[in-house]
Symmetry: D2
Amino acid sequence: MNMSYFKDVEKIKFEGTSSNNPLAYRYYDADQMVLGKSMRDHLRWAVCYWHSFAWPGNDIFGAGTFERPWHPGELVTPELAQIKLDNAFDFFTKLGAPFYCFHDVDAMAAHNTPAEYSRELEAIATKMEGKIAETGVQLLWGTANLFSHPRYAAGGATNPNPEIFAWAAHQVRSMLEVTHQLGGANYVLWGGREGYDTILNTNLSQEMDQLGRFLNMVVEHKHKIGFDGTILIEPKPHEPTKHQYDRDTATVYGFLKHYGLEKEIKVNIEANHATLAGNSFEHEVAVANAYGIMGSIDINRGDPQNGWDTDQFPNSVPELTLVIYHLLKGGGFTTGGFNFDAKVRRQSIDPQDMFYAHVGGVDVLAKGLLAAAAIIEDGTLDGFVEQRYAGWKEAFGQDILSGKSDLASVADYALNGNISPKQVSGRQEMLENLINKFA
Amino acid sequence: MNMSYFKDVEKIKFEGTSSNNPLAYRYYDADQMVLGKSMRDHLRWAVCYWHSFAWPGNDIFGAGTFERPWHPGELVTPELAQIKLDNAFDFFTKLGAPFYCFHDVDAMAAHNTPAEYSRELEAIATKMEGKIAETGVQLLWGTANLFSHPRYAAGGATNPNPEIFAWAAHQVRSMLEVTHQLGGANYVLWGGREGYDTILNTNLSQEMDQLGRFLNMVVEHKHKIGFDGTILIEPKPHEPTKHQYDRDTATVYGFLKHYGLEKEIKVNIEANHATLAGNSFEHEVAVANAYGIMGSIDINRGDPQNGWDTDQFPNSVPELTLVIYHLLKGGGFTTGGFNFDAKVRRQSIDPQDMFYAHVGGVDVLAKGLLAAAAIIEDGTLDGFVEQRYAGWKEAFGQDILSGKSDLASVADYALNGNISPKQVSGRQEMLENLINKFA
Amino acid sequence: MNMSYFKDVEKIKFEGTSSNNPLAYRYYDADQMVLGKSMRDHLRWAVCYWHSFAWPGNDIFGAGTFERPWHPGELVTPELAQIKLDNAFDFFTKLGAPFYCFHDVDAMAAHNTPAEYSRELEAIATKMEGKIAETGVQLLWGTANLFSHPRYAAGGATNPNPEIFAWAAHQVRSMLEVTHQLGGANYVLWGGREGYDTILNTNLSQEMDQLGRFLNMVVEHKHKIGFDGTILIEPKPHEPTKHQYDRDTATVYGFLKHYGLEKEIKVNIEANHATLAGNSFEHEVAVANAYGIMGSIDINRGDPQNGWDTDQFPNSVPELTLVIYHLLKGGGFTTGGFNFDAKVRRQSIDPQDMFYAHVGGVDVLAKGLLAAAAIIEDGTLDGFVEQRYAGWKEAFGQDILSGKSDLASVADYALNGNISPKQVSGRQEMLENLINKFA
Amino acid sequence: MNMSYFKDVEKIKFEGTSSNNPLAYRYYDADQMVLGKSMRDHLRWAVCYWHSFAWPGNDIFGAGTFERPWHPGELVTPELAQIKLDNAFDFFTKLGAPFYCFHDVDAMAAHNTPAEYSRELEAIATKMEGKIAETGVQLLWGTANLFSHPRYAAGGATNPNPEIFAWAAHQVRSMLEVTHQLGGANYVLWGGREGYDTILNTNLSQEMDQLGRFLNMVVEHKHKIGFDGTILIEPKPHEPTKHQYDRDTATVYGFLKHYGLEKEIKVNIEANHATLAGNSFEHEVAVANAYGIMGSIDINRGDPQNGWDTDQFPNSVPELTLVIYHLLKGGGFTTGGFNFDAKVRRQSIDPQDMFYAHVGGVDVLAKGLLAAAAIIEDGTLDGFVEQRYAGWKEAFGQDILSGKSDLASVADYALNGNISPKQVSGRQEMLENLINKFA
């Protein structure tokens, strides 16, 4: 088998909407300026190592379908880890991806003990540093996998056994330092097992305190080593656990506030996690904006008829338009970006399929960005919303919000004035049509 | 029509499990002592006015089916309000209910203006005070309906129009004072319209600030008038809105914390709202315990195959066993109680059906209480959980939790010890069998 | 109040995509030819009477918000029924709707007995006949409401009481004949209560036999009176019942086949019912095509985060593109059409909102039609699918399908050939990108 | 590692409800007579090979956690297959299981080609035959795995490539014959990949025809070889596919009817598949009864908050009571039985956990059987339902059902009689209380 898996695919180019080439960008023109910033800088998109390079195409009912030279899904030798790395950066480069993301175990060779872990992680980190320098592809974020190994069956930071907490601390310290070494822009924690399989054997309060302490330790260490990227939590309601403690953005905010972390940690919102939690994707972004914890986005989609994390490539321009609209209203990304936490389907077995998937996904982002920018430039939507709340800008509303009025004085206003407020239309259908005009 | 709707039903008695009388309690013996407290004092159960006396048996696809002398579902005259009141207290008394709950508009006569509202509310409150004195049935909580009138289509406290906020303030001030007057143990806020129909026309952050201010005003007023009951928020994820700001207990906690209210307001958890939000009922109680905001419970159930608020009477002893187990572990109710926020089905048109429903529901609570107490007295479950986290009681675990250790020292413990923690069984199936032994 | 509710809105025109007029069609140009047929004839769209003229803007938690001269939601006098009719046809005409749909009770005046029902239905039918003649707006389908009146709480055809079955037969006979009289193209049965609230009190098999007999009686009567429109069943999984017998298209097919009706009755697929049943909208159309029972479509949408029938106006062009693609592949509508079974939101209280809603919905259909036609003309998708199954056109595949081969001979082919079939990509992402190119 | 994995567990005995031994049956007394038949013969329960012996404790986010001498989850040697077989029958025997079930690949050694498949399957079948003779444990059903191997990524019978259909035919012929050889009572087809990942690349009608032909071939072969067990289809809505063609019992019935198979094939209903499809477990049994296709049951449960197949051990006595009630009303099992298609949780890593799980599950079945029998013997429920439909036994109802009346005559009855049927209560709450009295 030839070790260069993507050798038959050329670098992907922008060819515009008139192109019929399925391996060209139709909307994503990296240098095109949109609201004063290039598409590249708006989107800051990344390829993820795990789905694209470490997953063998298995699912819970079937074995891996992908035949790739680096043996995804197996514990690999340093040689195979090198082949994987070479192909990964070849893919990033051919795609023109500005960023990538990875877990420790996605990229490194097999290991059993903490000492072997350190050795193999350092080995691959050094090689990766070279690749970054060589290609210019940057690390959007690093993370440690605290969910795949059997030791984490009952959680990492929330494990009933403090020794397993210590293993988790070892991995997170290491990956935080590697992320710093590689110039990563953020560090992410997804607590896939930080929850419970059954509440029957679980001390919820104890586990939350463990997790709160763990996150504080991570923040302290970040400052100690001088890492100035953002620490991010990725909310998810469940799967693999029955219930995960960071079920959605609002839940994470409460948790952060409880443990004094709301100024230190932001969220990495995933589309499919949002919908599994019963929220729309744009809602999660709006909540993160409201609480000041908007960090980064894992871009993918779920299947509206399926109740698990399908991690499909995004394909809805209207949905992305609303998400990017809210993102832009909140000021856009600072350290964050759009990470393609998405996997090609199990039947998509060819190297070309990985390109089709990412090219389509990037174009959906680009088209969504153009639509969101157009909505903002048009101004109708923003103007409508501002007008709708205009009463709160006047004295009576301002006195309420500022605390000048109290319940009695406001109630007396109603009673003494014997008021009868006029109903006004919410204009939902008109606004939906407006979005459709642009998206 | 005879105005005494329940005249054919006798007072419900406890007859024990050997009884075949469908209108007798089989488990609920009010004075029976369980873990040192009577069943009545553990459960503190209430009948709700709205489903049982103000709802006419309609649903979104069909008209009311109930023919009752007080004309439920219509705007009523003071005379009909009186007939409703008489029948309600007759029902409470025949059932042996220690408590009831009501919204302003459930009990009062028709009104249009703030002034008429005050007049009619005061009129019914005075009569109710008499009924309480006469029967000994107490008010578990009062609340104001800020969702049924067209004026609240876009919310009460979160309305874009501050005049509607003022109407809401008028109702809440009035009902808070009436609740105080009637000796109510709690005051509840369910924000059925405090959310959005579409995020397109919504300023989320503005609306949350309005709601935060509103709640602070309520708390200030409570202290001002000397009401020492508990202020409670009732979480719900959606319906009638697409999204409600207080979707579940964890979300409410974050909100309270953000607006400085976490010491002042607790939650009134509803079973059906919990499951609509994607949480188990017992989970919500456990989270409220963990955050110190456990207040009261609206007891009902949803249908696991239907995605709306069916508000059925509870019938699952195993579920209630777990809920009451967690409730007892958190110390049991103080001011809270179990309010039957449940309605008989639309086809259950007879006076007897209201008794069947409540008798069955109370017995499920009683049986669940007995089972939960037996689990606690047995000690196996508590012992198992304590043992599972025993490592955290030792020095290494304590140093982590207390902040004595930092990330580096804990990671070094793993690395230098080159540790290999042993896996242990979580024993989920054994514990499930244990619950089934008691429930 | 002026009785002409829509007097301030002009007839809606096609102005093309450059128009900024929110009350103009941007894509729907009725006479534009698409694949050899006009848009009007492809879409055959209809306005529904119930949501637009009989619903007062209430929901299960709140009263009606709409102030309209004909008093929607109330039992009306013949005079109000006339005002409603005048406004309805004014609306249809201003919108340029080729069709409308109605239930008996949507349009007629109040009545209590079977005799009064006949009198009032005949009265409005006569007036409606005049309106049809006057405006040219046609009846897509008629139907009888067997779910709103309390008598139908336990079902119409499936009621435990055969007298209620008789009331249902009276309504359906009447409305079938009225539909015939008015030149309706189809007759629809939606069995909103033909299911159960609890399986505990239900004889499922008995109820299915009742429903099977009822449908056979309807079909016999149709032939007897010479109505040559199509009889349609509208599947829905639940709501208002816990479970409805015609939960989705595949279920309806089995039911029809069991009662010998599969050549006589087709389905009226509703978008929101499809998704509540756990199917995608396009899946339902594809299944109806496969079984030869594709009839008509109720066009609307649900909310992906809400578990009830929200009946919103459609706004997803990509979804409609797939639906119309499958519709066209099955030959397009014959007697069926797209009926807007959708309601403006409760806050959309103005006459203009009804126009915004329908104009946006019609444009989404038109754009979806254009996109679907483009996909068919492009040919890539069809070609890909045909090629994917090409093996089944060859002798080995044909012998299997025709019954020439048996299990042993086919198994022997594998065993004796010791075959090792080559994997090929399913190209899901490439095809998703292809749809996005057109939709 | 000792090869006898269960050596530390004794044979499980019935000890009654007073026992505190977690490894004893509290309700399941195999020879106890219930409604004239032993518990063993009512329940006909089976242990499944796949979850208990072939699954390594992995999930989609984590590796296997089980350390077992036969290396579950790996391609095994004949020697390991033998160790697995020995332990499986040791487990069945210690548990006192009357039956077991297996897929070809669960039990056999590794193989690549059709010829190797035949050789290894025959080898293990011969050994299994010996084990059956030795232990008396019988085969409830056999089945072929047409979903785990990469060749089946796009389906078995519904694959676009007829060669893969041939591989599937080879497996199914072989396993059907092995099932016959081993005296199996049924043969099951679960079409885990007989559906689609995306409708975009799918010819639904073609795939359904392939599947219809496949099932007909299986039925023909069954008769040819003289197998007199029942052929069963196991419905499931989705997972691993987006949509599976046999989504629930009603869908399967329509499919069977379409392909002329409704007299030949019955359903194997799985609890967790039922609820994933949006149906209650008891509903599926009632529908299978109504259509005459009730075959067997895969007993497990899902998690009401999780949207995937969790395959947990059953623990709800109330739910099982209703299921067994319907089962008994339909005449009980003939060839079918309760197969524990359930897996211990990933943290339940000890041999004891497998016993806890099955012992608890069997006891839930036994308690449900006792409760269902008590409900039947009590007669209140059956009597209520019969009375509810009593009108249909009279002349007017009988004439409708028999076809003697037509729509006009029934409608005339209503019109001429100007009828006004009386409403009666559905008594849902009373019946729910009744179930709780027994369950």
